[in-house]
């Protein structure tokens, strides 16, 4: 079993047409950093492959009030976003240089846990996804995109084309723990954002990765933080809510027990970072 046809559509419309024609047997590949290891090991044995490399989805565009990230924009591209330090930090902590040059922002949304660090940051930024199908185009909020482990709300004939964020308001922090400093799957990944108004948190986002079937927002933790003064007691309460919201698995990287312990620690660290510099945005 080997690849018999390789498509390299030159536009989104052409890509959607190919997807409609070949259905679920068509392997859609952006950077290939998830797909190729599986193909090389024989786990994924597609007959037909479609590369999104030339489909014009690699752009990173700024418009007033929003940033539009093409689904096939390399992870490395995020390092240009000086005004979104949260995404810069997430990109810097994802894979290695080689992976960041090949791997894409859109692809990261499909990476099974414990991968998917950039997705965690995008969740904390209220990202909205644009997906296109044959003759249709719709928006999905990232926090309702994942439906389970490795499954998403993307229809069988749909393609993710763009990720949209607004320039972030408030202070942000990103923390990832791996088994080594770089190029590592996560024990846990935490992205936090808080708007502090008159000494109190008026809006909070706490997103977690590698401690559930997919990256998710810990809403109970966000609620625990909202209205608080970001003091030690509220940070502890928020971290407890985040641990309660997590459902980690034991794998080759870490045990479930260790992941819970580190979730608490990293949420506390992220919020302490924000409390120390509520006016700034550096991650």
């Amino acid at each position: 079993m080997s690849v018999t046809e390789y498509f390299r559509p030159a536009s989104v419309n052409e890509a959607i047409e190919l997807l409609a024609r070949h259905g679920p047997d068509l392997l859609v590949m952006a950077g290939g950093t998830i797909a190729m290891p599986l193909v090389n090991e024989g786990i994924s044995a597609p007959e037909r492959v479609m590369s999104l490399r030339a489909a014009g989805l690699d752009g990173l565009r700024r418009e007033p009030g929003r940033i539009r990230i093409g689904a096939a924009c390399p992870l490395q591209g995020l390092l240009e976003l000086d005004d979104v330090p949260l995404l810069q930090a997430a990109a810097r902590h994802t894979g290695s240089w080689a992976i960041r040059n090949m791997g894409t922002v859109g692809g990261n949304l499909f990476a099974p846990p414990p991968a998917g660090d950039v997705t965690v940051a995008l969740l904390a930024l209220d990202a909205v996804l644009v997906v296109a199908g044959a003759g249709s185009r719709r928006e999905i909020r990232l926090d309702s995109f994942h439906t389970g482990f490795m499954t998403t709300a993307l229809g069988p004939d749909e393609l993710l084309v763009e990720i949209r964020i607004a320039p972030p308001t408030g202070a942000t922090a990103f923390h990832k723990l791996g088994r080594r400093q770089a190029s590592t799957p996560a024990v846990v990944t935490v992205a936090a954002r808080a708007i502090v108004d008159g000494g109190r948190v008026s809006e909070a986002r706490i997103a977690l990765g590698a401690v559930g079937p997919h990256p998710f927002r810990a809403r109970a933790a966000e609620a625990a933080l909202t209205g608080s003064r970001l003091d030690t007691a509220s940070i502890t309460r928020t971290a407890t809510a985040a641990v309660d919201a997590s459902d980690p698995a034991t794998d080759g990287i870490a045990s479930e027990w260790y992941r819970r312990r580190m979730t608490r620690l990293l949420v506390e660290r992220a919020l302490t970072d924000i409390a120390d510099r509520p006016a700034g945005g550096a991650a």
Binding site: A35, S44, A45, P46, A111, G148, F149, M150
Partner: protein, 156 residues
């Protein structure tokens, strides 16, 4: 591989039993299910297209009801075959009455063959659990909708 869990379904036990004992209804709940056919009095076959990242492909699932004690339990033998490999196993489904519906306990014991078995076993287990849970959520939804339609038309 063993996947076990439970889910409360908002329908009486005999209705749930009828649904899980009739694999045409059960299989139709699998995300991406395209066709279900009955191949023998107790055997069923289904095609489903699961759009997984990096592992494209269609899968064929065959199920045989091996044991049924209405409305308490049901045992199914099944096999899923796709390009990345095959999963062969047995599922035990048990139903108990609870407030507001019935509790479904499920246990699946399965063997993974082919390239799929080279993957981290946690990954396949979580995938199987995810598909099961999504399927059961859909079953719950279908049962509730059927009950509402039944009420509306005042059928016995």
């Amino acid at each position: 591989m063993r996947v076990a869990g439970h889910r409360t379904l908002a329908a009486p036990r005999d209705e749930v039993f009828e649904a899980i004992h009739d694999p045409t209804m059960l299989l139709a709940c699998i995300p991406g299910c395209e066709a279900v056919e009955r191949v023998s009095p107790t055997g069923y076959r289904a095609q489903f297209a699961l759009r997984l990242p990096s592992i494209a492909g269609s899968y064929e699932l065959s199920v045989r009801v091996v044991d049924a004690i209405p409305p308490a339990s049901c045992r199914l033998d099944g096999r899923v075959v796709g390009r990345p490999g095959a999963v062969t196993g047995q599922a035990t489904l048990e139903l108990t009455d609870v407030d507001g519906g019935s509790l479904l306990d499920y246990t699946v014991d399965a063997r993974i063959d082919g390239p799929l078995a080279w993957l981290d076993s946690t990954l396949v287990e979580r995938l199987a659990r995810g598909i099961l849970e999504q399927g059961l959520a859909r079953l719950d939804h279908d049962l509730a909708r059927r009950a509402m339609a039944g009420d509306a038309e005042a059928r016995p």
